[in-house]
Symmetry: C2
Subunit: 319 residues, 2 copies
Amino acid sequence: MAMNGVRQDNPVVVVHGGAWNIPDQLLEGSKNGAKASARAAYRILKMGGSALDAVVAAVRVLEDDVNFDAGTGSVLNSNGEVEMDAVIMDGKTLNAGGVACVQNIKNPIDLARLVMDKTEHVLLVGKGANQFAEEMGIKEIPVSQLVTEEARREFNCYKQYGNAVEELFGRKKDLSHDTVGAVALDMHGNIAYGMSTGGITAKRPGRVGDSPIVGNGGYADNEVGAVSCTGHGESIIKVCLAHSIISYMEQGMSAQEAAEKGLMKMDQRVNGHGGVIVVGKNGDIGTFFTTPRMTWAWVKDNKLHYGIEDNEDNCEDFE
Amino acid sequence: MAMNGVRQDNPVVVVHGGAWNIPDQLLEGSKNGAKASARAAYRILKMGGSALDAVVAAVRVLEDDVNFDAGTGSVLNSNGEVEMDAVIMDGKTLNAGGVACVQNIKNPIDLARLVMDKTEHVLLVGKGANQFAEEMGIKEIPVSQLVTEEARREFNCYKQYGNAVEELFGRKKDLSHDTVGAVALDMHGNIAYGMSTGGITAKRPGRVGDSPIVGNGGYADNEVGAVSCTGHGESIIKVCLAHSIISYMEQGMSAQEAAEKGLMKMDQRVNGHGGVIVVGKNGDIGTFFTTPRMTWAWVKDNKLHYGIEDNEDNCEDFE
C-alpha cells in the first residue's frame, strides 16, 4: 500500500507563522522566526533527511519562538489556561498523529509524532493526550513557562471570543496570534506536513480548531502534495479547506491555483479568512492569504524566500 | 452566503448503525433499530420539517437503542470508561457542531447541535465539552445508565486495541460496535448529516476517531450532498473519506459511484474497511460497505428499504 515518491534531488520546505492582522511590532520577529524555521528544515532535507523530520524541526523552531502562537507563546483560553493542538502526517503511508487540548508540554509537535509512531490512533485529546505524554516520558512543565506577557495582554483585551475573531481575521486592527505549520518534500519524493497552535485567545475550554484535524487544517499525500492552513479555524473546518485544495490539485491545478481557489471558496461560502502554504509532488509551491498579513518562508534550489505583506517576496541565498 | 437548496417534495433520509462484523444475534435488533430511526426522521421530513431536525431524531433513536455503539450501549475505553463523540452539520450554511470524549450524557447528538447553535466553535472536547453541557443545562447521568452487559463483555474480550481492530473490521469473527449516522434531504432542498459513537472497544482514553470530525466521518453541502461514514475510524481519517466522496460527486459522480470509489480508495491506500451512506442534492442515494455487514435503512417516496448483508435489500411501505 505504501507509495514511494519519485526520487529527486530538489527538496522543498514551506513554512508559515500564521495569517492574521499581524501588528507592526511583530513583523521583524515573525519574519526572522519563519526564516530560521525554514532553514532548520532545509538543512535536514539537504542532507537527505526525511520530510517528516524536516517538518518536525520547522515546527519546533516556531513553537519555541515567543513570536508565534504555538508551544511557548500560546494564547490563553477563556479560563486563562493554555490548551495546545498539533499534528503531523506522512504522505507516503497517510499515517498521521495529532493531539488537541494538551496542557503543560513544551513541544506538542513531538507528542503528535509519538501518537503517529507509537499508537494505533490518529488523534488524542485532553487528559488522554496528557496521559499518553506521561507514558512516553515527556516532562510536564509549569504553564508559566509557556505564557508570554503578550499572551496575557491579549487575554485581557479579549474576554469575548466573538470580538476576537472579527477583529483578528477581518480587516480591523488589533492583536492575537495564530497557527504555525510546515510542508516539505524530501529527496526521496516523500511529502509531509506538521502544524501546532495555541488556538484563539479567549476560546472556550475544550475548543479544537482546524489545526490538529487531518483534512481540515492540513493534508499530505505523496501522490498529490501537502497543504497547511492557518486563519479562522472554524471557517477552515466548514469548507474542509486542506482536502479541498488537495482535490483541486488531483484534478490538475497547480499548487498556487489550488491555494487561491480554496481560499476564495472559504470566503464565498462562509465569509472566512486565512492563509495556506502548499507544495506539489513535483515541488511546485503555493502561498496565498486573504488576511491582512501572513508570515511565510520557503527554501528551494538553495534560495530562501520570505514575506509577510501582500506581494512581498524577499530572497536570499541559503547558507 | 447561505445557499438555499432547490425546493422539492421528495424528502430522503438514509441511516446506518455501523459497518463491522455484526454477529448473528444482533441482526434482528439492528435492523429494527435502523428502521425505527429512518421512520422517525422521515415523519419529520414529510411534515415539512428540516433535514437538521430529521438527522437529530434519527441519531437519537440509535443512541437510545442498546444495539448500537452510541449513547446508551457505548463501548468502553481501555480505562473502562465511556467517552462519546457526536457531530451535526447544516449543508445550507456549512455550520457544524461536534463533541468528542464527552462523558455522562444521554444524547451526545443534542450537545453537538448546541455547539453548532450556541457557540462560535465547531468542536469541543473532553472536560470542556462537559463544562459546556452543564452550562446548557444538560443533566449528567451516571455512567452505569450508558453501559450495557454487551459493552462490558466486549471490554473483557479486548483489552488489546490492536486485536480489536483486526477482528472487528477485517474478516475475522467477533464482537464490537460502531458509529451510527444519518443523512437527510428535506422538502426545502436543505441537506444535513449527524453522527454519534462510543468509539472502539479498549481505545485509549482521549482517542477521537473520524465520527465527530467534519470532512473525515461526514460532510453536508447543499450544493453537493451529504455523507456519513462508519468503520475503522483511523483509516477513514487518513483518506479524509467523507470529503473525498463529496469531491467525487462535485466532479459528477452519482452518490453510489462516489461511495464505492471512496471505499475502494480507503482499501487500496490504507487497507481500511468501512461503510458509507450518501444522499445527493437531487435525492439520489448511495450505500456501500467493505466490512462483512452494515446496518442501513432509507426512506424515499414512502418506501422504506433496509438491509445488513451484501446485496440484501428489503422493502416495505412507510406507514
